[in-house]
């Protein structure tokens, strides 16, 4: 389990860049943008684990994101939990929802497009539920009271949020890196490449997929917890709406699905594209996503391995 020299070099440059970034980026606008970019990279990494490595394309990753966000919000607001304790329960809940969703859909043999649609339908079910349930704030959403301090997982100095999401993303990447090199990771890729052959070789495909979706769900709910602490608000559209599901898959697909740094590169590319379109066409709603959609089609057509494919071709 060692890094190749090229990877070690890249990792060193990346780490130095992101650790030192707040030294150079002092405007709160740009720091906020980088914080959100890393947030999308984390969300994308969670999708990548299941969709990129395992080949189980999810169209409803919001179901995990929203669970993380809502569980931590409800526990804090309605049950007086400490933010850290709420976060722990929320991440466990995200994993649990993943395990349940995976157990149900993989048990009944859902694959490919059918699996994608079922995850979307689950996200919609959750969206309708939290939108009608009083405990989850129904149509109004959940507002977290402002309580600055590390003990409450809130920071007045936004730089700390940047370092928090950086640490979370680094941990997620370390997990994926470790999985990539583990026996489990090899099983996961085997399931993606040819499930029948993997099964024939004695791999318990069902178990592999359920473990993958559980981990993926837990990671996405970490992103959900971060979102709630950062914005102190979540409602049914933010939490379980289709936009977050799309966000989860865009970064890894554009950066390179099934690669360690794909989600990060994709998130940075999308962030840059978003700024460029705003610069060129003004801050009109829809313009950013319009550009994202076009980029997705271009990538699918010309770079099926995402932006990472550009590097890999030469390595």
């Amino acid at each position: 389990m060692r890094l190749r020299s090229g990877q070690a070099g890249a990792l060193f440059v990346l780490a130095a860049f992101f650790l030192l970034l707040p030294q150079f980026v002092t405007s709160s606008y740009w720091l906020g943008l980088w914080t959100l970019t890393l947030f999308y990279a984390l969300l994308g990494q969670s999708w990548n684990l299941l969709g990129g490595y395992g080949g189980q394309v999810s169209f409803g990753h919001a179901v995990f994101f929203g669970t993380g966000a809502y569980v931590s919000a409800v526990l804090q607001v309605k049950f007086g939990f400490n933010a850290w304790a709420g976060a722990a329960v929320a991440v466990a809940a995200g994993g649990l929802v993943g395990a349940f969703l995976g157990a149900v859909s993989f048990r009944y043999g859902l694959r490919g497009s059918y699996f994608a649609l079922v995850t979307l339908a689950f996200a919609e079910v959750f969206r309708v539920l939290v939108n009608s349930w009083e405990l989850t704030g129904s149509g109004f959403g959940m507002l977290i009271p402002l309580r600055p301090g590390a003990a409450h997982l809130q920071f007045t100095d936004r730089t700390w949020f940047y370092y928090l999401i950086l640490a979370l993303l680094a941990a997620a990447c370390a997990l994926v890196w470790w999985i990539e090199r583990s026996r489990f990771g090899a099983y996961l890729v085997a399931v993606r490449e040819n499930e029948d052959a993997a099964q024939a070789l004695g791999i318990d495909c069902f178990r592999v997929k359920v473990v993958a979706i559980t981990l993926s769900g837990a990671l996405a709910s970490v992103a959900g917890v971060f979102y709630v602490q950062y914005f102190l608000f979540v409602d049914s559209h933010i939490g379980y709406g289709p936009a977050m599901s799309v966000n989860a898959l865009l970064a890894p697909l554009i950066g390179g699905a099934g690669t360690l740094f794909g989600p990060l590169i994709g998130a940075v590319a999308l962030g840059a594209l978003s700024e460029l379109t705003t610069l060129a066409l003004g801050k009109t709603p829809g313009v950013n996503l319009l550009a994202f959609g076009v980029l997705l089609l271009v990538i699918l057509r010309f770079l099926p391995n995402g932006l990472m494919g550009l590097f890999r071709g030469r390595a």
């Binding site: 169209f59 149900v104 859909s105 043999g109 649609l117 979307l120 689950f122 709603p285 959609g293 057509r301």
Partner: protein, 292 residues
């Protein structure tokens, strides 16, 4: 209230007229699925575009939606044909999940293009006959809804005739059943794929024209329909027209009753639950053959 048979019939009939639109949207999706074996995620967005087209034809050109359909259906046929032939097919390289992602990309593009060009304002048109109610005994129904119900049944019959009585239908069925074989006997598979996609898109344009008089249009309206259409198609059996028709009508009724029982907000859950349950326990639907 629930024991009152007149009330129950009224709810059921109302659901039926909503279901007719679902059935129409789903018919197009069923055709595309049945022939190309792809899931067209952009289907709802195409409906949204057709709604805007009908809206602008009415507000800018004064063309009634029922007249506009004569132009929109052929127009959307061509649009769908070109989309499949020159965008979806080349980009997806014929792989299943790729098609799903390409059509997702298209729906993102269409939805946000609409948002950019026409803003998120909810738009409706005002036609005189929308306020005309027809008394059918148990309840009074808005005329456009009765028209939609009739049209859905007619289109169902027309599709059936097209598929069974014409050479084109024969070719479509041949491609759906056995791609390679169809190619060998001289059928252009790419052409038939695109024709099927075009037909599916044309039906969506028809549905839009029937829907607009009693409905509204926003850039995100397609998303609400896309899951309903998938549910309909899955429920009826992938690729089955009669299944899509009955599935759509049934879903309309289910939605009407779950709305009455659970309230408007929670009532939407019925359709998604049906979708999940059917996919899990009866992926062949009620009229389809085993697929996955």
């Amino acid at each position: 209230m629930l024991a009152d048979p007149v009330f129950l019939l009224a709810v059921a009939f109302n659901g039926l007229t909503v279901g007719a639109i679902y059935a129409l949207v789903a018919l197009g999706l069923a055709l595309i699925y049945g022939v190309l074996h792809i899931i067209n995620f952009a289907h709802g967005s195409l409906l949204m575009l057709a709604l805007y087209a009908a809206f602008f034809l009415f507000t800018l050109g004064g063309v009634d939606p029922y007249v506009a359909v004569l132009a929109l259906a052929p127009g959307f046929f061509v649009f769908g044909y070109l989309l499949q032939r020159f965008v979806i097919a080349p980009i997806s390289f014929g792989r299943d999940t790729n098609v799903l992602l390409v059509t997702l990309g298209l729906s993102i593009i269409f939805d946000n293009l609409a948002l950019y060009l026409w803003t998120s304002t909810t738009r409706t048109i005002n036609v005189p006959y929308a306020q005309t109610y027809v008394d059918i005994g148990v309840t009074a129904v808005a005329l456009p809804r009765l028209v939609a119900l009739g049209a859905a049944l007619l289109v169902g019959v027309a599709f059936w005739l097209l598929m069974t009585r014409t050479d084109l239908g024969k070719a479509i069925r041949a491609v759906a059943r056995e791609r390679q074989g169809a190619r060998i006997v001289g059928i252009s598979v790419e052409h038939i794929f695109a024709v099927s996609f075009g037909l599916g898109t044309a039906v969506v344009a028809l549905a839009a024209c029937l829907l607009l008089p009693t409905f509204y249009v926003t850039p995100t309206v397609g998303y609400a329909f896309v899951l309903i259409a998938f549910t309909t198609v899955v429920l009826g059996g992938m690729g089955s027209f009669i299944g899509a028709l009955l599935g759509g009508l049934l879903l309309g009724v289910v939605e009407a009753f779950s709305g009455v029982l659970l309230g408007e907000s929670l009532g939407q859950i019925g359709i998604f639950l049906i979708f999940i349950l059917v996919l899990l326990f009866r992926p062949t639907g009620f009229f389809g053959q085993r697929v996955a």
